[in-house]
Symmetry: C2
Subunit: 280 residues, 2 copies
């Protein structure tokens, strides 16, 4: 596996591969990799000729400095994991190269960035859209892979790619879960053993909601009450939002008619976790 | 000359040229072409293997609907002019293809978009940065050419290219003027004969400023008074701004020390014109 830290060198590498008509698959990450990321890399290898993974903890998408400071990092472990699944290139830029003095350009996807996480993390999706635009221009992929655990991010990126005419395909892959149901997330590493146990109420709440919908319930208010009741059983867990929304526009829905996104965010101690599923 | 109206087809064309290792030069325009545009196309042909010109009157960069409505258009004449100088492709998209329903993504270059024209045309440079990002992703050029008459636009685009890591070179070319000094602009076509005559005070004011600087004057206030006095001689002309600024940051300067941008905007009847020069 080649490790590239320079933007210019990454562009040269990708340009050379494109001339050889190689299909470049790209998995942008913030590192501290888990099986969720690896499933994206494997799918990238399956669909592309070469796969590039970036690791960059993007400062401008963190709305809280403490979250940025405590975001888990372990590049050496990440490197070994990527090497083991035959990643072609690890792109590992420094923040000073990505955001040199005078940097002042932002990309914003307006409507779909607003609800859900956007309402609680001002500037977050602007930071995501901006860094992903940069990474697309640097890595020049034919396809880019994102995990559906970050469902709103997938919607934002798809919309951005369409609106700005990036000539590439976005592929999203299902959330990978721990055997007990917790959605894999780099932030899970920050949970204490007790918090780790409490956090199971999130995936349990999603399953309960799926159950009541299977039994015929369609009213959002009723379904969301089931979700809130389940999470309320864990006093350590503080719900930030639980919403039923149209999975394309992310607008709230009053009823489940057709595929509906159930998205939730909650604080488990000092750690903010998100999870989601599609109902019906 | 090939005329391409579809985004997808333009991307395919450019991708094929890049695989053949052809250097693609790109001149984005809003049409109603004049010698200023043609100088960009000729320089593009000189530096590239193929040259693509786009004509698209971009609705989102007009802050006044009436300016958009009255912006001069003549695609048939433009086509003939481009054909005559052996342009390879004219990219001519429809507004409905560039901005389909649900479009919601914007690109903003924050600091350098704020002063000068940015202060009087809210949203203008956001519209420019957004459409140029789209066009770069559609035409995939190795180099793109812009005219220095739109000096602030050149600064905004250069900054955007650097910040978003577009892998292409920006080339700017000097303002082309009519024999009597008026900077060429598509909007000149909207001037009445009397207004056309009055508008000469703009280039005359620039020349006067250059003269007093040559004679040793360094104080911005004094130089700008010379500019204002010259323009005041034409009662039909209403100055919008006249500013001395750092040509890289576009920040106001109190003194001319090193190369300094003198930029001005003025209304001649219903027509807004801009002009600029570099002092010293």
């Amino acid at each position: 596996m080649e490790i590239i830290t320079s933007i210019r060198e990454m562009q040269r590498w990708s340009e050379a591969r494109r001339r050889e008509r190689k299909i470049i698959a790209f998995v942008p990450t913030m590192g501290f990799l888990h099986e969720g990321h690896l499933s994206l890399v494997r799918e990238g290898k399956r669909r592309g000729d070469v796969v590039v993974v970036s690791i960059f903890v993007n400062p401008i998408q963190f709305n809280q400095p403490s979250d940025f400071a405590t975001y888990p990092r372990n590049v050496e472990q990440d490197r070994r994991m990527l090497e083991a699944i035959a990643t072609d290139v690890l792109f590992l830029p420094e923040a000073a190269e990505m955001y040199p003095p005078g940097f002042q350009t932002t990309v914003e996807v307006e409507t779909v960035s607003r609800p859900l996480c956007g309402a609680f993390r001002p500037g977050h999706f602007r930071g995501v859209a901006t860094v992903v635009t940069k990474l697309f221009n640097i890595v020049k992929p034919h396809l880019a892979l994102f995990g559906e655990k970050d469902f709103q991010q997938c919607v934002v990126i798809r919309r951005m790619v369409q609106d700005l005419n990036f000539d590439l395909e976005i592929i999203t892959m299902p959330t990978v879960r721990e055997p007990d149901g917790l959605a894999m997330s780099s932030r899970n590493a920050r949970l204490s053993p007790a918090e780790r146990q409490s956090s199971l109420c999130l995936s349990r709440a999603l399953r309960k909601a799926q159950e009541v919908v299977r039994q015929g319930e369609r009213r959002s208010a009723v379904i969301l009450q089931v979700v809130r009741d389940e999470i309320a059983k864990e006093p350590q867990v503080r719900i930030e939002y639980a919403t039923l929304a149209n999975p394309e526009t992310l607008e709230d829905v009053a009823e489940v008619a057709g595929p509906t996104l159930l998205a939730l965010a909650a604080w488990v101690g000092e750690v903010r976790l998100i999870d989601n599923c599609i109902l019906q």
